[in-house]
Amino acid sequence: MQSWEEVIHTAMIGTDKKILSVTNLPADLAAVQTTLSDLTGNDKEALYLQQASLLMNYKQCGLTLLQKEMAGTGIALPEEKPYCSAAAAQVLKEVLNAEAPVLLHDWLNHCNEKGQVFQPVFIPALFSKATQEKHLQELVMHCSGKRGEWISRLNENWNFYSGENPEETWQTGTQDQRRLVLKETRISDPALGLAWLQQSWATEDAAGKLGFLEVLKSGLNEADILFLESLQTEKSKKVKEEAINLLKHIPGSSLIRLYQQVLEEAVQVKKERSLMGLSSKTVLHFKLPSSIPEAVFQSGIEKMSSQKNISDDRFIIYQLISYTPPVFWEKHFQLKPVEIIDLFCKTEEGYEHTGAIGLAASRFPNPEWAAILTSDPNRLFLDLISQLPPDQQEKYLLKHFDKAGDTLMQLVAKTREEWSVNLAKTIFKYTSNKPDQYPKSYYRDIIHLIPTAVAAELNRCTPVEQYPAMTWNKTCEYLLYLLDLKKQIHQSFNQ
């Protein structure tokens, strides 16, 4: 309305400098205008205020709305999967209120496994959570159904859908989407993932290349060697280092073979005479060859030891052993793993190198070697525990808990399987004494590992001292609340 524009314009400049023109007034108001002039006399401001008030009400009484044929947001497709039960939806509400991401992950996992979707009313809350906690994205995506897929196209922050066609996502998606689809493809078809990466490699920037190499760890195999070795000409130092790091995890890579060549010469079996020369024993001799190819050190093997009591040569051998698959020693010595470990343990230096063999057994998983190495009661091989059979894992943990509680706490928090009641009790007896180190939030973040059956045993883990005992009582209340929610999740999906 032009006359209203005129009202605003006059207000901006002020009636001292501009008088509101009445020529543009709507015809309906022309008659009233004369009355207003009569009423206000020479008071310019009063006249303006009356005219403006009149026009404002004229405008708001005759409001004309925008009318436009718009494409709109479209309509979400009907769901193909069933909605979760009302009970499960109720638990989801409580889980969201509890602000326990691990329980939310647990709920989504159950929902996904049952092939169900959550009710649309949860979409805003869950999509917002998934933008903050990326590990939830895939599950949220699967459990939000067609409605979620539709709404994600309207909100760029929620657009973490990889689309129908993985290859299309790889070619046109965001970096996060591409990394996700590459990771999935590397698990299902490592060769295809490698082929995609090779095709687009030249067009990626350094940060992108680094991100994709990190993803390449999934499904790493000998077919990747040529590509990774070709990256030594890359400009980015970080990209080169990451490529080398990956090559160090592939047994057939030229780098690992180079390490093995050095070790073949450096670690030899020798017979030593003893008891005045009447008997002899077989021992290992460790001596680096006089010349070591520079490529060994270029690959990240340190030349100098940082500890005074460990010589440089011993340190180099230790590093090389740690990157050599344990099966190498079986070929090298033509002995069984248990005999090889015995051989290493005969000398002080050899025993020390069994630690490096432990590292190697975690880099190149080998359950047989893991079982032999973890039978050493004086050493703790944290990284090998996952290769042990489940019952052995727990025994191993319980055996070492008193000596290395804090170290083992880090490990048990990373396990995938739910703890047994026995293990949980051992852990709580340890953590309940350290309330500052293990506050309530600690239990919230590992609640997926805590068995619900331990609820009845929590009081038996109460510390003797007063302060930790008081804190533990409060922690127990919280733990019981979380365990109850966990139980409800399970029950609601198994009714």
């Binding site: 205020l49 709109g72 409580e94």
Partner: protein, 433 residues
């Protein structure tokens, strides 16, 4: 009575109480619990030696708990109600304990006493003298306000954004001194204009003109005994004796509680309950003011229907009302609203033609969809007319998630120039946004 979990949580005084209530809505926390058609009760084991006794009057939702919390309702009340909504079957239906009976009886007694309470004789001469003195004060304040407004339009509003908060606050305080708190609030709102938006001049001018209309209207028409004057008096800040108002007969209807809005300023919480009468097709606004720590008289739950008699404050467009009598009802369903924006703007024109200054109003509008246009979200009716959505960043995603792009009946608050969505119906279920 069956309330949804959201409806129960809407009764909580703050977020912390909601959370605590949810935490306590757990069977293991309750030593005993029972219910009948009048009340729900339960004993919750707290940190004390004796469990806390929580109870809820169902006939006219009210809470009581023996815990020392100053919040109302406390977490135990919220938790008990939640637990009842989730697991009604687990509540015993035995005879209610003595402590529940005692409380219900006291409540009934109080109601009766209140009803029977006789007004103290009013000294009419003194009252008239007081009213005249106030009127003179208000007129004096209005004259000052008119001069201030004229100064603004004489000098132009371009330099207004530089004036800052105190410039407006001084005038607002002057209006408080002149016993015109309504005008004081309007001046404060003027100072709260968002000067960083492109059209701040329009927003500022519209609010300035509203103040002018009220001030000018009251100074010219204060002798007219018409509903029109009542609107002016209300905007100036005169209050109406609610006890007198309650003596008048009201409108009895089944009212749907459309929405509850609350805000807290200086420890005083203002709750706005928007209602819609199914038979009379009338909208109503019931206000409740509570000082922090004090219990509130009224607990209406959005989405719930109440059978009640409402007395409206005198106005040419009656909207504000108080509840004279309230009963619960089991009614459910979707009320009929405006068929589209054209019908709504028609009704709106009538309202503005009767009185040019209006606050926000609720509307039920049928079959609305959401549309993105000009970097803004709009609500579009079946004839492709569109109204911009206010606070869209907060509400658009729940609306889209629930609707899936399909048209839905919605409850809106605002004006046809801009609205926000308070709730919507999905498959006969009313959901708050």
């Amino acid at each position: 009575m069956t309330l949804s979990e959201d409806q129960i949580l809407a009764l909580a005084p703050d977020e912390a109480s909601k959370k605590a209530g949810l935490g306590l809505a757990n069977m293991s926390k309750w030593v005993s619990k029972g219910a009948n058609e009048l009340a729900i009760w339960g004993e919750c084991q707290g940190s004390g030696s004796k469990p806390y006794q929580a109870q809820i009057d169902l006939s006219n939702i009210a809470f009581k708990c023996s815990c020392p919390s100053r919040k109302f309702p406390c977490k135990h009340g919220i938790a008990l109600f939640l637990l009842y909504a989730r697991q009604t079957a687990s509540f015993t239906v035995d005879k209610q304990p003595a402590w529940v009976t005692e409380w219900l009886e006291k409540r009934a007694e109080k109601q009766e006493k209140k009803a029977a309470k006789e007004e103290a004789p009013v000294d009419e001469a003194a009252q008239a003298k007081r009213q005249l003195a106030r009127h003179e004060k208000v007129i004096h304040g209005i004259h000052e306000l008119q001069l201030w407004i004229k100064d603004i339009v004489r000098n132009g509003i371009l330099s207004i954004p530089e004036k800052g908060f105190p410039w407006f606050e001084n005038v607002a305080k002057r209006m408080v001194d002149a016993q015109a708190p309504g005008l004081a609030n309007m001046v404060r709102q003027l100072g709260e204009t968002n000067f960083f938006t492109e059209d701040w001049q329009q927003q500022f001018l519209e609010q300035l003109l509203k103040i002018y209309i009220v001030a000018e209207g009251y100074s010219k028409h204060h002798t007219d005994e018409t509903p029109f004057l009542q609107d002016l008096r209300s905007w100036v800040g005169f209050t109406i004796n609610q006890d007198e108002l309650k003596e008048q007969s009201g409108i009895t209807d089944t009212w749907l509680v459309l929405a509850k809005q609350s805000n807290e300023v200086d420890n005083v919480t203002t709750e706005k309950y928007w209602l819609y009468g199914l038979e009379q097709k009338k909208y109503a606004l019931v206000l409740q003011f509570t000082v922090r720590g004090q219990g509130s008289q009224l607990s209406l739950t959005p989405g719930l229907y109440v059978q009640a008699e409402l007395v409206f404050f005198p106005s040419v467009n009656p909207m504000r009302a108080l509840i004279k009598r309230q009963l619960n009802t089991q009614y459910t369903g979707i009320p009929k609203g405006f068929s589209g924006w054209e019908e709504l703007t028609g009704a709106h024109t009538e309202i503005y033609s009767r009185f040019p200054v209006q606050g926000e109003r609720p509307y039920i509008v049928e079959q609305l969809t959401t549309v993105r246009y000009n970097n803004q979200w709009w609500l579009c009716d079946q004839s492709s007319r569109m109204v911009p959505l206010r606070n869209a960043e907060k509400s658009i995603w729940p609306i889209l998630a629930i609707s899936g792009g399909q048209p839905l009946n919605m409850v809106l608050i605002g004006s046809p120039a801009q609205v926000e969505v308070a709730g919507l119906w999905q498959e006969n279920q009313y959901l708050l946004v």
